[in-house]
Symmetry: C2
Subunit: 342 residues, 2 copies
Amino acid sequence: MEPAIHPRVQEIERRANIWIRRSQMCATDDEYRWITATHSVNFYARFAPFADDDRLLATALWVYWGFAFDDARCDNGPLSSRPDQFAILAGRVQRAVEAPSASDTRERLIPPLQKIVGTFRTLGSPVQVRRFALAHRAWLSGVVWQIGNEAAGTIPDLDEYLGMRLLAAGGEPTFAMLELANNAEIPAGELDSPPVRALTEMAILVAALDNDRHSAQKEAMRGHTGQNIYTVLMRHHRLSLAEALVSAAALRDRVLDRFLQLAARVRARASMELRTYLQGLGHGIRGNAEWGLRVPRYLSLGQVPDPLDSSTSLHWAESPTDPRAAPGVTPSIAWWWDENLA
Amino acid sequence: MEPAIHPRVQEIERRANIWIRRSQMCATDDEYRWITATHSVNFYARFAPFADDDRLLATALWVYWGFAFDDARCDNGPLSSRPDQFAILAGRVQRAVEAPSASDTRERLIPPLQKIVGTFRTLGSPVQVRRFALAHRAWLSGVVWQIGNEAAGTIPDLDEYLGMRLLAAGGEPTFAMLELANNAEIPAGELDSPPVRALTEMAILVAALDNDRHSAQKEAMRGHTGQNIYTVLMRHHRLSLAEALVSAAALRDRVLDRFLQLAARVRARASMELRTYLQGLGHGIRGNAEWGLRVPRYLSLGQVPDPLDSSTSLHWAESPTDPRAAPGVTPSIAWWWDENLA
């Protein structure tokens, strides 16, 4: 899992910023600054380092959009504890993704989303666009679940948290876009096979647990939703914060270890398109961590985001965290370790 | 769209009733009586009249399960106006469908659902099972949306209602099971193509509008959720109930008319598996109406369901309702009439 990034990342980021400004996706200059400070082109340029420029631009635009929606409608703002209102909005947003003729201007974020998905329709096959749409619903269903817990005043137990986080993290649509970015459609028999589903979920969870780590400080400071791997482990496993940090890292490393083992086995008899996809999952895990450790979204604690400093050198652990520190594997994800999986 | 029903419907219904009794899906004898009175084998035997017995049994069991879940957790009961609690439950239920190792006995309806989906895994391909799982999520997302409206005290406008009802009606998983019942996997390029998506949605909407008609009296009498095509048209289009009945029928007939026209065009260049599926959509539209006009679920107004009387003769309209009585086609579904669709 060597680092890789698209060679024209800066040029494409400039194009993205212009698009975002013109799309009226952001209600204020302040919002524009924070959304562009997600540097989502830089993010997705690590997932799909070999994509055509137009494909990287289109897929990265959805990442910006996802952050904008998340910030304005999910993690904070008036809907973050209103599951009724959010469920209605999620339904309307998803319909706008699926129905090309849908028109819903009451939510300002819907028209730019439809423009992005419209581009997907011109770049990708109906199968790829449908897969993205279904992944988009999976994401929204996870956010509804998260907001349900928030409104109910519940910190879920670890098993439920993992099931929820696999969806709410947004990894489903993010990885579903790999096909669009790489212009490589995976045969359904491969993509829907249990080992490839397991690999997709494992990649999502590793990235999501990394994001929990990256955003922990900022979430705490800004009073965002209380559900993350640390609060879950502290509440239900009676760990201190220091212990929860180690335990979560051990779980993350254990999942990554299984991912690497299973991916090698699946790759051996995979089509070229599936190999490209598996490579993309790996790029995504690595790229998400590189991006998350540097991006002003998580690092800037002030009113205005700092510039992205790509020169910061990152230090990686030499070996996995002691797996004995990890919590036991829970039923929702236990099947990833099924010996008969592949 | 001639009527058709599986020849061994009664034998398979007996097997289903035994399975349901043993599964402990129903908490009380009363619940068992109402659930078996849905005669879901009789329902799905019309969708898949040529299925192998075991395949019809397995798919019909999910229909029973869906009714049980609907009755206990969606349409009435304590969660029907608790979007937070329902969103959490929907997340857990869906994870139990997707993760073979999931274990969640806090909700008594989850273990029997997992048994049914486990059977799907032995009968169907991973692609078919995955398609069912994603359709299952679509359904639950629609129910969350409906409960969101209920909790917010909102009767949605027609456009939103159609988008919601397409999901909440349960047609997505019901029609997704056609592949499992008929043992015929549709190539992804066909199933995910816009005209076939449109046909699937049209079949769902026709059946859902028929269900609105079948259950209108019972819902009104039992104080169920106020969202149906009639309350929507009365509220937002200022129609009387008598006018709303005609207007809804005209909309339904207009959709069916387009379905028939488009299906004929698609069938001409369809694979055998897709032709089987399109046939199943037609069987489903017809079968749903035949079943819904007779089933004690909608007809029995007392404490105990009446027996199913299959001898009642049904009268069908000779011609469609005057299309001028239909409300204008709304943006969410306008693309079904796109001339370039097929």
